[in-house]
């Protein structure tokens, strides 16, 4: 008896210790694959992918879409996901631990991404990607935008340029007797009426104009609408100027301060997590939402599906015209890129295999499997060949489109669209001629890579403080001076040099 218990304890230790030293294996292996004798080439190539999940319950590996993609590409796919809210944090830890999969979704050119690309953690594919028929059709400008020191480390995750806009409650606007705002002043009137004129008609003072959160998207869109540059402007002397050091930016800040002071936006926005951003709009407490145009349909769908509210109460528009004419903050045309790591793809052949995989994903079939799934399982086609997504309690394909690159337009099946969706597509097209480009987008500044995050925070804090009334215009100028003194001056010079060199 005693011997047995000693044995047990020893065994427990051995298991414990071995658990400590065994490197974690990347998810499950392709068991499902082996049960599929039809599609069994001698030895299927393998590809492992790290992508983003927004809900924490991402797509399973035996989901029909994954199997379909495996069949299409001939690769055995292993998927791993990290939560969006801490994606960068966890990506950094994964890089440090040295066990990245072959394909890694990168959300942007952050300091650590730049330094890892320079150190060689990811394959430089500048000279390779054009050998693949579909990848070769990728947009040169966007490719240039994701480059680091002029080299390309991945295939961009495409996003429509004119994607930004305002979702609003059309029924509220009718109730307060206003028209869709054409100018920023009219937009202010709309927010004011949403706050004070009881737009939901319940005789209670329980609504307000617009919800903001910790994320600065709405503030940036308003700043650009007022004529401030998109991150960097080119000054009269040919030097680059940061957006916050312009008089137009100050005008936009004063406008936003007015919104804040009059309670047209939520006063706690600086403490509101991004994940709670849409709550007030969805609960009919606020009536406008500055984000991406496709958000309008997400709101409307939830109103219909979960709250039994009427159709077409949410509508969408582009940013109204500011004092300097209509100006729109574009997206970068990408949401980061999908990179090929040397951890997961150690040899050049592995890298080529990974590129080949991405190339197949950009065929018509590949794009549609990634974006839509499977006909009759995830969507249905109508007589016009337009697709309608089926509704699921939890999206079984969640996260699957996060390594979708879609570098070629026009291959996706058209969606059978509701009016608000048609409008959102129109708005995206209407936006394009008014988009303000960021001249520093493809440029790299070493000082920015090094200190940029702290310096950015200095400015975002100062913006919040100004809007909340903790500092005045002189105080804000003081913070801008601090920005220049703490490294901003070098950033300006480095970007200016890089900009002139690239011209």
């Amino acid at each position: 008896m005693k011997k047995l218990s000693i044995l047990c304890i020893v065994a427990a230790f051995v298991i414990l210790l071995s658990a400590c030293v065994t490197p974690p294996t990347g998810g499950t292996t392709g068991d499902s694959k082996q049960t599929d004798p039809v599609q069994a080439p001698a030895k299927p190539k393998e590809i492992s992918i790290l992508a983003i999940t927004f809900t924490g319950t991402p797509i399973a590996e035996d989901e029909p879409s994954v199997l379909a993609l495996e069949e299409l590409t001939g690769y055995d796919i292993t998927l791993e996901f990290l939560l969006n809210s801490s994606y960068e944090d966890q990506l950094n830890t994964r890089m440090a631990a040295g066990n990245l999969p072959a394909l890694v979704a990168i959300t942007g050119k952050t300091a650590s991404v730049i330094s890892n690309c320079r150190a060689g953690a990811f394959w430089d594919i500048t000279d390779h990607y054009k050998n693949y028929p579909n990848l070769a059709k990728a947009n040169e400008i966007v490719m240039n935008n994701i480059s680091i020191d002029g080299r390309i480390y991945g295939i961009y995750r495409a996003r429509p340029l004119g994607r930004n806009g305002i979702s609003y409650r059309r029924d509220w606007l009718e109730n307060v007797g206003l028209e869709e705002p054409k100018t920023m002043d009219e937009f202010y009137n709309m927010l004011k009426a949403f706050t004070e004129n009881d737009p939901d008609g319940n005789n209670q003072n329980d609504t307000y104009g617009m919800t903001w959160c910790k994320y600065f998207g709405p503030l940036d869109q308003i700043a650009v609408a007022f004529g401030a540059p998109n991150k960097w402007g080119v000054g009269a002397d040919g030097k680059l100027v940061p957006y916050f050091d312009t008089p137009e930016f100050m005008d936009s800040m004063k406008y936003m301060k007015k919104l804040y002071d009059e309670g047209l936006i939520n006063k706690d926005y600086a403490a509101l997590e991004t994940s709670d951003w849409t709550k007030d709009f969805q609960n009919s407490k606020s009536g406008a939402h500055i984000d991406v145009t496709d958000q309008a349909w997400r709101f409307q769908k939830k109103f219909i599906d979960e709250m039994q509210m009427p159709e077409d109460i949410v509508w969408v528009m582009g940013m109204p015209e500011g004092p300097k004419g209509k100006k729109i903050l574009p997206t970068s045309g990408h949401a980061g890129f999908v990179a090929i790591s040397k951890d997961g793809a150690p040899t050049e052949q592995d890298m080529k295999d990974a590129l080949n995989f991405l190339d197949i994903c950009n065929t018509k079939e590949g794009q549609n499997i990634l974006n839509w799934g499977i006909d009759g399982v995830h969507y249905d086609l109508n007589e016009k060949g337009e697709a309608t997504r089926r509704t699921f309690a939890t999206d079984p394909r969640e996260g699957f489109n996060q390594f979708m690159t879609n570098v070629i337009d026009g291959l996706l099946i058209q969606e059978a669209m509701q009016p608000v969706q048609q409008r959102h597509v129109e708005v995206q097209l209407e936006n394009i001629p008014y988009c303000v480009a960021n001249p520093a987008e493809p440029l790299t500044s070493n000082t920015y890579a090094d200190k940029g995050a702290q310096l950015d925070q200095l400015i975002t804090d100062a913006r919040n403080k100004f809007i909340a009334g903790q500092i005045d215009e002189a105080g804000f100028k003081g913070e801008v001076e601090k920005w220049y003194a703490q490294g901003g001056q070098q950033i300006v010079e480095e970007y200016t040099d890089a900009y002139n060199a690239a011209k």
Partner: protein
């Protein structure tokens, strides 16, 4: 004679060794039970210590530990000359100082008050109730605080009903510290009473009986018997606390900070996280963490010395 005594000594020594072995054999199970604890310390505390070396390197995850170049004290000079250093230092110390002034005596006072309760069932119920907050995670506490104190929250509704202006509790530098100290006291006071209550239970009842016969009232008993009896415990806990003076508790501050209170909420713990994990500056944040630990060690040693000089036993 001399030879003989030497022989005896050797024999004694052997005997002693045999004795030790026998002792170990006797308590074999206890020794086996110690192994997981020891392993924990070796694997999770001692082995990772070599990682400190990256504070003197320019560590890049891809190049790895051996591939990254040595940079000497660059990370430290960068940190000490950075504009954040002064602010971080002041913020960290201020919060710790307030926690010490308001947070440290709270469990002592509560334990003493509980000690005075004579109805056992009442005392035990209260004791159990005040432990509960300790087991609630900071995430929950931060959301509770958010719900209660935001501009539409209960507290502000009450303030508004009284006819006053709403107070931006969550987004103001002035209210940040009281909020933080309040949270800490609410969460940890009850649990902190355990050790003091144990110390109080150890006081000899005869002392009180003698004092009553000498005519001491409740307050005199408290002042001359209760307090001196738990003085050692208080000082030991104070010394241990000193070592953590630069730790503010990462979770709490990380969850409660935002850009409008950053001027007072940014402390070493949060800074190490944002620099190291979010921004991937592993070497830099290791240097900051190392600096923090060094200060902690110095403080523990010096307060221990002080306690000994004042005639207390100290902790080592």
């Amino acid at each position: 004679m001399a030879e003989m005594s030497a022989g005896i000594k050797i024999k004694n020594k052997r005997k002693k060794q045999g004795y030790k072995l026998r002792q170990i054999k006797k308590d074999l199970w206890l020794y086996i039970l110690v192994i997981p604890g020891l392993l924990h310390f070796i694997v999770f505390k001692y082995l990772p210590m070599w990682g400190i070396l990256i504070a003197f390197k320019d560590y890049n995850a891809y190049l790895g530990f051996f591939g990254s170049p040595w940079v000497g004290f660059k990370q430290f000079t960068d940190f000490f000359t950075s504009p954040e250093f002064g602010r971080l230092f002041v913020n960290t110390l201020t919060i710790s100082f307030y926690n010490l002034i308001f947070g440290f005596p709270a469990p002592v006072i509560m334990a003493l008050m509980l000690n005075e309760i004579r109805k056992q069932w009442y005392k035990r119920t209260i004791q159990t109730l005040v432990y509960i907050p300790h087991f609630i995670s900071w995430v929950i506490i931060a959301s509770l605080t958010y719900t209660l104190f935001n501009s539409q929250g209960v507290i502000n509704k009450y303030i508004a009903a009284m006819g006053n202006e709403a107070v931006p509790f969550l987004t103001s530098a002035d209210t940040f510290r009281p909020l933080i100290i309040g949270q800490t006291i609410w969460k940890e006071t009850g649990f902190g009473t355990i050790i003091y209550l144990a110390a109080l239970a150890g006081i000899d009842v005869q002392l009180y009986e003698a004092a009553v016969i000498d005519g001491a009232n409740r307050f005199k008993q408290f002042w001359h018997i209760t307090l001196p009896s738990i003085k050692g415990t208080i000082i030991t806990l104070l010394i241990l606390r000193m070592g953590h003076i630069l730790d503010n508790g990462f979770d709490q501050l990380f969850l409660m900070s935002n850009s409008l209170n950053r001027s007072v909420s940014e402390v070493f713990d949060v800074y190490v996280y944002t620099m190291g994990i979010t921004r991937g500056a592993f070497s830099f944040s290791t240097a900051v963490g190392l600096f923090k630990s060094l200060i902690g060690i110095v403080l523990i040693y010096s307060s221990n010395r002080l306690a000994k000089a004042a005639g207390e036993s100290g902790i080592f």
